[in-house]
């Protein structure tokens, strides 16, 4: 929210069509949106609304069928595989619904696997401290609860000091109490490191903690809500 004039992400008329045999599914039907530096955005939508597809395209995991995606003045829509890999490697942090930790690595090592290939990362221990897991650093995923695993995933995502944190249903697999703890961690990161954060969810309650909520329905941006007074996650209930 420091610099509202230069968006981190900008999309223009983004479409994505999946061809499943003879059926065409239009997941995105012309999405125009901007994400600004340092803001906390919730992308809200029902299942099948196209929000995950949008996040995948923003994160360089998927290519749009038409339209443009710009990241800080770089055209991602026409980037090659190498550029996209570098983009993910140096600029984006991902948090998945199912954590996707490497079971054979400890919490610290799961973070290290990313910091080893990053430029100017923080120490894995520092990242884990930020998510409140300093005591569990040498545990393997199988020894951690779901919430803890998700916090390791967040630590792994932020350890490279990414400019953008993309979270796909980060609380989707968690109970509400654990989910709120995870959201607190995300808010703290956003506040302390100034990382632009986009959280995908179908849970409307979560929108209250965001600076902006972008509602996606039927492959389009149907509504953008500015929230001048985001609340703290611990006030949420669902």
């Amino acid at each position: 929210m420091n610099d509202m004039t230069a968006p981190v992400f900008r999309t223009r008329n983004l479409t994505r069509i999946f061809r499943m045999g003879e059926v065409e599914i239009q997941a995105l039907r012309g999405v125009d949106l901007e994400l600004y530096a340092g803001e906390f955005v919730v992308l809200l939508g029902a299942s099948g609304s196209g929000k995950s597809t949008l996040l995948n395209i923003l994160g360089g995991l998927d290519a749009a069928s038409s339209g443009e995606v710009w990241y800080r003045g770089k055209d991602l829509s026409h980037a090659d595989e190498k550029t996209l890999t570098e983009f993910r490697r140096y600029h984006v942090g991902f948090v998945f619904q199912f954590y996707n930790l490497i079971p054979s690595l400890t919490a610290r090592e799961n973070v290290a696997i990313v910091t080893e290939i990053a430029r100017d990362p923080m120490a894995p221990a520092d990242a884990l401290r930020l998510v409140g897991l300093e005591a569990r650093m040498d545990h393997f995923p199988a020894q951690l609860s779901g919430g803890e695993q998700q916090r390791v995933a967040i630590a792994r995502a932020i350890a490279k000091r990414p400019e953008v944190l993309l979270c796909d249903e980060p609380t989707g697999a968690l109970d509400s109490k654990t989910g709120i703890k995870v959201l607190e961690v995300l808010c703290n990161i956003n506040r302390e490191l100034g990382t632009t954060t986009a959280v995908i969810t179908h849970n409307a309650v979560i929108a209250d903690i965001a600076n902006r909520t972008i509602r996606i329905s039927d492959g389009r941006v149907s509504e953008v809500i500015h929230n001048p007074h985001p609340v703290a996650p611990d006030t949420l209930h669902w």
């Binding site: 995950s52 995948n56 994160g59 995991l61 998927d62 190498k82 890999t85 570098e86 993910r88 490697r89 140096y90 984006v92 991902f94 998945f96 619904q97 199912f98 996707n100 930790l101 490497i102 079971p103 054979s104 690595l105 400890t106 090592e109 799961n110 290290a112 696997i113 990313v114 080893e116 290939i117 990053a118 393997f140 995923p141 199988a142 695993q149 792994r156 490279k160 796909d168």
Partner: protein, 786 residues
Amino acid sequence: MRALNIKLLRNLWTLKGQGVAIAAVIAAGVAMYVMSLTALESLRLSQRSVYQNQHFAQVFANLKRAPEALGERLRDIPGIAILETRVQAPLNIQMPDFDEPITGLAISIPDASQPQLNRLFLRQGQLPDEYRDDEILVSEAFAEAHALKPGDHLAVVINGRYQALQVSGVALSPEYIYQIRPGDMFPDFSRYAIVWMNRTALEAAFGMDGAFNNVVLTLSPGFSHATVISHLDQLLEPWGGLGAYEREDQMSHRYLEQELQQIAVMARFLPLIFIGVAAFLLNVVTARLVRTQREQIAVLKAFGYNSVMVAGHYLAFTLSIVVVGAVVGILLGTWLASGLAGIYQDFFRFPWLEFRLRPAVVITAVLIAGGAAIAGTLSAVYRAFRLPPAEAMRPEPPAHYRRTVIERLGVHWMSQPTRMILRNLERQPLKAGFSVVGIGLAVAMMMLTGFQRGSIAFMLDVQFRLAQKQDVTVTFSEPAASRAIYEFLAMPGVTYAEGFRAAPAILRYGHREYRSAVQGYMPNSQLFNVLDAQLQPVTIPQEGILLTDHLAHILGVKPGDRLQVKIQEGRRPLLDIPVTGLVTEFVGVGAYMSKASLTRLLGESDTLSGVFLAVDTESLPALNRRLDEVPRVAGVTLRENTIRAFSRMMAETILVFMIFSMVMAGSIAFAVVYNTARIAFAERGRELASLRVLGFTRAEIAFILLGELLLLTLLAMPVGFVLGAGLCWLLTWGMQTDLYRVPLILTPATYAMAAAVVLTATLLSALTIGRSLMKLDMVSALKAAE
């Protein structure tokens, strides 16, 4: 069940790569099994059928000369069914365009008709005309070597007299299925001929009018060889009988038996390993394949399918792969078997080849392969089924891992991907162990099929560079006085000559006996060495006898024991000689004495059976022409020819088999590695996709997957080397015959070759998997585990 059948087909389609690889393993295993056993069976059947149909004799006897009237008395011996007297005469053949000496044997047949025993099979032409004394039949092997056909003329010397003979036909005899010159180690079809002539003509040519010098017979049922032979020997003794012998000691039969036994060892041993490896892999692979279907099994169970239906479904899945593999294997094996039997037939001159695919062989092969697949499938289905459906449908919780031994020992500098590889291997030691053993077996199989080349080269080297250094061996038709050696020293190109004395003998120790010859050599021979176990030359002692270790083993005799030696020529003394030591020989078996000691025991003054010559290579043609003119020369053996004949025999028997096996082993190696990689990929796909999302390049995730594969392959190398060395030892041990014993020589090349093939298979698998890695779907990683 229809929906389930459709699912079956789709599963098969999705897993076609792995399915094909598994089917290939089965096909290779089954093909090896069917090929080996069917080829062996075919040779055995042919042997039996030829012996029976051509009335192969059971007892054979040679003598100097007896009047035909004696034949009637011989027929009166109780226990004889059919007895035929024959004339046999050594001969020399001169072929235009063929410089080297050709020797042979002429055998009489009743004028213009088939003998009752050892009937001839006419491949071309006809029996000699009744009223012509210049027509002969030639053996097929010799005819082929010189492109002879009926109507061709031959210049033949019998009994020192030149004769122009005409080929009336090309024939095969059960007596010469393995056509080899007596005293030779290997057949040489272009330099040794068997010809058949009318009795009257041969009697005239050999000066045997109204007489015979050879007897063949069959026994009536219920009579023993031994009594008939002793009767026969008694009656033949006054006529210069050389001792009758039974079929077991007939040269062609004995060599054929030994070769067949050797093939049998290979044919039973190798395919068992092949099919065993295939079964092992099949078990592992089907079990893993079913495990990847864990959720689907849970869903089926949730819908109310019972375990029998689910098990049936997955059994149908693996069995359809087995059936494809088995059918391909049976067809391939049958095809290869007929090819292999055909190649052997070049060598074993069967008039015809019986070929039969025995159902038992096919059924056994299919049962072994199918059983392994069924066991693997059922164990996996059972494990999947034990889970409550709800639990099985949930994504699997993160697997339990721990730090590896290396890390606990204090190694901390590893990168995370390296840690992943090591922990993954250590977490499932059994799985990693199976992969290592599987790949190791592929390495072992490659060694097993590859080592013989090096071993045979070594064997040849020892035999012909260390032991037998003479360029030419000349054998005399009768023992000659030792001054004959000067005649040879004067011949063109001869730089050195040394005489030897050899006497046919029966060696006996206790109840065991062996029909061979005693060789008397100069104690400090320049041209012939006997070697000890370290391949160092052994000096032949002045007294006593040295035995080839293999022969000592056959007789059960050791140094210090006294051996009974019944000499089979001249006055046929029965000697009692101490065994003074053992010598190592890879080719043939022998009994060696000093020449002086042997001639003294024979009661002779200084005599020779032949000479060893060292010769300038350029002078060989001139020497050959000169040797042709010496009447007492019965045979001339050139070292180079022996080496060539031996190489040819090896190439046509063992090595052909080995090349077939090597192709099979190579494909199994590939299938093992490919399946290991494919399964690892299926199990780790999600993890790898996640890493891609986190910014890892394709090369970096390839390292994690292929690094594991490579590490498994490298771990498998020493395992494979040890397994391979063991199997090679077993094979050489099982293949020992009197003819030759392939030494166990594992050269670096053998190891390198096995390693190279398996590493290539790994590389090819890596490339195939690499293509899948390229197409890895990152978005799928974000979704719930399937």
